[in-house]
Symmetry: C2
Subunit: 290 residues, 2 copies
């Protein structure tokens, strides 16, 4: 669909919000971008970088005449942002978001969007980095990446079409899921690994010999812990928003570690090698399919 927007309002001009704006600008699909956020310095930088054209002084000012609204705030802030925004959404506007969890965002939208709910198409781009802030934003972030959309029974078909076209214009390919399934899948392959990486670095950091330990950490440790340089606020919100599923994953994982400890205790070399070989094969097969 040859979609075009007059005015995009981005709430949260960080890595995701900034990249969405930059990609739509790059593709020539948006005339003007207004950015809203908590950090004035970050918004000034976004203006300097040309990611946005204007700083919105309020939700109301940003929403005026906007025909596309993108929520890219840490998920815990969604209710507050929607509360301020809802009365000002134009009838023709369509909304999407970039939240890493979907059930909580949808619940917040249901409670606050009223008859605008049908114009909201929840989304989650499977892209990102341990970097944050508009400095890290790039028009290429979503290129060839999956964007999960989790439409609601109420979702308007035309709104959905326009949102899908906007994401497609960013270079992404769309995948539909239920909100519940989205939160389950992401808990396993994203939320749990982040929790594990944070926990490992924290465990080492608080030891009295942390500096010596870190000084012998090599490339394997660097890669394993890369996601522990992610935004603490964002990941706090994600884990709390999705905590029932994340707790179940943590529980399963702790069980797997107990199993591994048993093999080690028993000196069961065959069991260990079998487990490691199965993991390596699964990972290498996945990389080949990618």
């Amino acid at each position: 669909m040859d979609v075009r927007f007059r005015k995009l309002a981005v709430f949260g001009v960080g890595l995701i919000g900034g990249s969405f704006a930059a990609a739509l600008k790059q593709a020539g699909r948006v005339d003007r971008v207004v950015g809203v956020g908590r950090s004035r310095a970050n918004l000034d930088r976004a203006l300097e970088l040309g990611v946005i054209d204007e700083i919105g002084s309020s939700a109301q000012a940003a929403a005026a005449d906007a025909d596309l609204i993108f929520l890219a705030v840490p998920v815990q802030q969604t209710p507050t942002v929607l509360e301020a925004l809802a009365p000002h959404i134009e009838p023709q506007a369509v909304l999407t978001d970039g939240g890493s969890t979907k059930r909580d965002v949808i619940e917040a939208a249901r409670q606050r969007l009223g008859d605008r709910l049908a114009r909201f198409v929840p989304a989650h781009p499977i892209a990102g980095a341990e970097l944050s802030g508009v400095e890290a934003a790039t028009s290429e972030l979503f290129r060839k990446r999956s964007v999960v959309i989790t439409p609601l029974p109420e979702t308007d078909a035309q709104a959905r079409g326009r949102i899908e076209a906007a994401w497609a214009a960013c270079g992404a390919h769309l995948v539909e899921m239920t909100p519940q399934r989205h939160d389950e899948v992401l808990a396993a392959v994203s939320h749990l690994p982040h929790a594990l990486a944070f926990a490992l670095v924290h465990m080492i950091a608080r030891r009295s010999d942390a500096t010596e330990l870190f000084s012998f950490a090599g490339a394997g440790f660097r890669d394993f812990t890369r996601i522990a340089s992610s935004s603490p606020e964002m990941w706090r919100d994600i884990l709390i928003a999705n905590r029932d599923v994340v707790l179940a994953e943590l529980d399963d994982y702790r069980g797997r570690l107990a199993e591994l400890a048993q093999h080690l205790q028993a000196g069961d070399a065959d069991a260990l090698e079998k487990l490691f070989a199965a993991a390596r094969t699964a990972r290498n097969d996945w990389l080949q399919r990618k």
Copy 2:
């Protein structure tokens, strides 16, 4: 020290063994390299690549006239290799190894090297990759990397000097530690993370929806699990050789996960953010020091 060797015998011509040979050749510090290993195909490839000059038909043949011997086999094979090698070590030869654990290698050496023990300088280069085999070997692997040496009370000063000079010629810088301390440090920053990555991939791989789950795994998952593409045999050996310390680390880590689960259960956003922020700061500080 301007060290030079007439003949280097490498036992295990994989990533580490091949890179040691390639680096010493590149630096012009060795006249001839003979390689010994289990896989004829790998040795043929090492010959083709010019990493070795000759395939050793036996430990005896390889040791004949060798003035430098490098053990780069999975650590569990050290006793067997030393058993075959010990009677044939020339009096002037010096030995080192690349084993990722030191207490077990030293124990094997004590039992088998007899009066040649003084010529053995245990070492562990903190370098490597998830790749294995001679194809991955490069003369640059050890450049600017740390090599831990764990000399014994019996170690001969001249032997130590020659081995240190060999590693320095590979571009590495040397750090001395006790074998016990080495095994503790590496358990925390290397052995535990490998176990954790293997366990996560294995947990996901054995689920019925593994293919769908993997299809939504992004760059964070790829980096977090990179070390789960490491050699199953090598890591089986390392974890078993160092199992008392690795089990203690696993135990500590499982405690940290229990703590994290408690914070999540309680919805304690502050505790989570504090933990994540401390981890991020520690990691970023470490990267800056590197």
